[in-house]
Amino acid sequence: MEANWNQLIERYVMNELSAEGKQAFEDELAKNSQLQTELELHQMIHEGAKRAAQRSEIQQIAKRYKIKKTITTAGIVILLTGVLAAAILWLNGVEKITTTDTVKTPMNISPAVFEKMEAQLAFDHIEPVYFEFSGKDSAFISPSGVLLSVTDESFLLNGKRYTDKAILQWQEAQDAIDIVKAGLETKSGNDLLETQGMFSLLAFTPKGEKLEMTQKAGVYVQVPVAETKKGMQLFDGKKRPDGRIDWVNPTPLEKIPVPVAMSQLNFYPAGYEPKLDELKWFKSKKKRDSLYVSFEAEEDFQDSTSNEKIVQMVPEPVSETKPKINNFPLTSTTIVASGKPSIENGKLLYEAKCATCHTLNRDASGPNLFKVREKWSKGSKQPNAIYRWVVDWQRAATTDPYASEVSHLKSMAMNAFPELKGKYQLIDAIFDYIDGVPPSPVKKATAHIPPSKELAIWQPKFNNTLLATKDFEKRLMKAHELCSEKIFNVYVQNLNQPLWKSDEEVVKMGYASFQSFADERVGGIQLSNPHMNNLRHFYESAKNRIKAAGKSAFLKEDNRRKKWDAAMNRSRNAEVDRTAKREMKNFQEEYAFNLKNVAKQLGNTIGFSIHGGGGPKNIDAYVYDATKARTSTIITDPNTGKTAKITYLPFTAGVKEATSFGKLYAYVFSKQLHSYERITAKNGFFDYNLNGDMRYDIAIIGINEKGTFMTELRDLNTGNFATLSLDAVSENEFEKRIQELNQSRITKPMQVKDELKWLFKEQQNFVEQKRRTNDLQFRNTIRPTVFPCLKNKNVLADTIQF
């Protein structure tokens, strides 16, 4: 029983019961005292656990308090010691230490040795401090807090390495009193120095022999200073003949790099983030990182797509006019009327007409055009084949087998340029321009710092290394400006050496601008070897991983686009078929209708011969011609004198803001025919003669990336509508209305389902193309910030195919 209650009580307390469950529980609670006690117990345990959590928070505060206290105490102790030492010094005056003074005598040193050491004191009147060095690595702290780090590689005796016990004799003069007392000068030659402290360290064997410091390791001295002043240097003291010390030979002190958390640093190239902020793009680092890497993937992709799949270029159905490409602001060019057009003209023409799909010296949406004329003169048997191609590739493909082959190279249809018809000189100018731009050698490797490498180190794993410092950030910025991966590599591959050493290496590579960095003389951050190896492995795997991720993302999108385009092609192919069939059917039906009409009027039509101009004709032919041309005609039966009239009435309509629609159609539903007719607008205008003996419903529809728009005209057979406004409708609404128009006429009308499906797909394509264009423009805007050194700014342009 208890176990069940346990679960139930918990759920009640956590408010996990339904309203009924809760009520049932409370009812039971009211009459069951055991349940009450259980519940109470349960709640107390909750509270107890909560309290325990709060207790640990208080313990945290206690810990922090204690640590603070320890530090302060230690500080006080040191201070006190210092004060005490100073006090002792003051009290003792300036008397030399005698051998009987046990306070200062180091242990186990014979008085003779001691005197020898004292005789060699560098500073007068400064009390030395002695440390006993065991020979193994140790650290000592002087009274003023100077840290001395001594190892068994610090000393030489008579030129040989000395690893035994030693006595260190340390003198320090840090404040003015001491300096003056010691008779020390703060001058280097004749220049006055501002000093943060003067020190003397001598080392002796227990026998009193003087030791030398090694060149390589020496003794590490760390001086606490009140403030880090810039330009502080280390001077050697040279004893002058008169006993005074001259400070010479200044060497800069190493500046200690300050580690900063990686999350606080910014490794992007200078213009990248500001540009994204300007465009109000996503702020999340993850998104910005993946965008950054995508440019690398794109670059690599560029070079590998020279062999695209062989696909058939599918042109727009012939019955439609090719729409103008409006998306890129193309500068209007004046076509030179006379004289030989210059290369400059060729450049303008290229940029206006060709650059959207072709890229100089690169295979892009359109193939590389470098020396394309030679290719064609070799490949095609026909003269001027390339020019004919440029003017109208579709036509060329039907008459020239070479052209037909070329049409299989790319899946994107090329535009036609009827305005260049006959103007072969202009086309030549374009090709002259193209040929004049030689292919540049592939210098991609040094053109930029690969994003994948950069992101591989921009990770918390590299905290507390040289890379996680503001100093490195500065240098990386500079490396971005110079677009040099080599510079990047120098720093990343030398994590364990002082920064200034890497700086000097970079300077040696030829980048003089890094000299100022080298002058800063920033030190290094030591890492243990296992740690270094760990980081190295991490870096290798991380950069590969990031690069692969970028590439796969890129390929994914590319595949998706290819699939989309293929689907569009299929849809269009089907549509072309459908339209052809429909138009034929329409014609036959209307022809039969007209024939019947005439027959009705004349009483008898078949087999009649009427002489008109041009040879014996048949009524059928008249009716045929009239139907084909959609013009009115009067047919007279000479025998009976009866006339039959076929009437076609004008129908014209203009559409408001016609240019905003990528496609503008009029669906003409005749009440007397099974199938509907689809008319394409020319320049936003419909001009279609309607059969006077029929009644029509007409739906004018427009589609663009924003959606579907329509308006209806009911029950007419003529009309002139200057400007019709199209209303935005949802896809569902659109379908409904079209179906309605379709059904409300003859029984068993032709199905519009497929037509609608195709229309919607076309509309979606507008959206897709718009998205691609926007994306392309976006990337073209960002790319210069990612690759500031890339010369060829003319990059891959997707086709604008509507």
């Binding site: 176990a3 346990n6 679960q7 918990e10 006690t37 109470e40 117990l41 349960h42 107390m44 345990i45 909750h46 509270e47 107890g48 656990a49 909560k50 309290r51 325990a52 959590a53 709060q54 207790r55 640990s56 928070e57 208080i58 313990q59 505060i61 206690a62 922090r64 308090y65």
Partner: protein, 180 residues
């Protein structure tokens, strides 16, 4: 300082300030006969009681936090001393004070529950503390403790509660008060 803002952050700040008064409290407790180690426990307990009191909805601080904490320390010390002595030769004055403070009594009861909970395994303790104390989600807790997912953690929570109940049941004094 009559009305303190009872947000968690503010309470934490208050606690940090109060902790600085620890030497004073230590001296105070010493005069009452308390040794150094117990003094620290008592002080932390008092802070805990005080911070939890601050979180109750209608609590208004009528005296300086420091005095509240000091008083609480006194009470705690006397309780402890009384228990240690086993014969109740403490002055009536303090008993009355202790009895009057319901909050104090409740806190003492919870203290006992806490010590019962301390007998649970480390994982149970952590789980319960994170869930009821810090209001972590089961997902987060599962991750922290190293359980597979939140459902596993939930099952574990039930088990811990079972164990806890048994342990608490064994605490004599508590059983007494519960039956009352």
């Amino acid at each position: 300082m009559n009305q303190t803002n009872h947000t968690r952050k503010a309470i934490n700040e208050e606690l940090k300030k109060l902790y600085k008064k620890w030497p004073e409290i230590k001296r105070f407790l010493k005069t009452l006969g308390c040794d150094a180690d117990s003094a620290e426990d008592i002080f932390q307990e008092a802070l805990l009681i005080f911070s939890r009191k601050l979180q109750t909805p209608d609590f208004e601080l009528t005296v300086d936090g420091f005095y509240y904490v000091r008083n609480t320390c006194k009470l705690l010390w006397y309780n402890q001393a009384r228990k240690a002595q086993k014969h109740g030769t403490s002055s009536l004055e303090f008993e009355v004070e202790a009895l009057e403070d319901d909050w104090f009594e409740k806190e003492m009861k919870l203290r006992t529950i806490e010590s019962a909970l301390e007998k649970l395994g480390k994982q149970c303790q952590e789980l319960l503390q994170l869930f009821y104390g810090k209001n972590w989600s089961m997902d987060a807790i599962a991750k922290k403790i190293g359980l597979r997912n939140d459902k596993v953690a939930k099952v574990q929570k039930y088990r811990c509660l079972q164990k806890a109940k048994i342990l608490v049941g064994q605490e004599e004094s508590l059983v007494q008060t519960m039956k009352a």
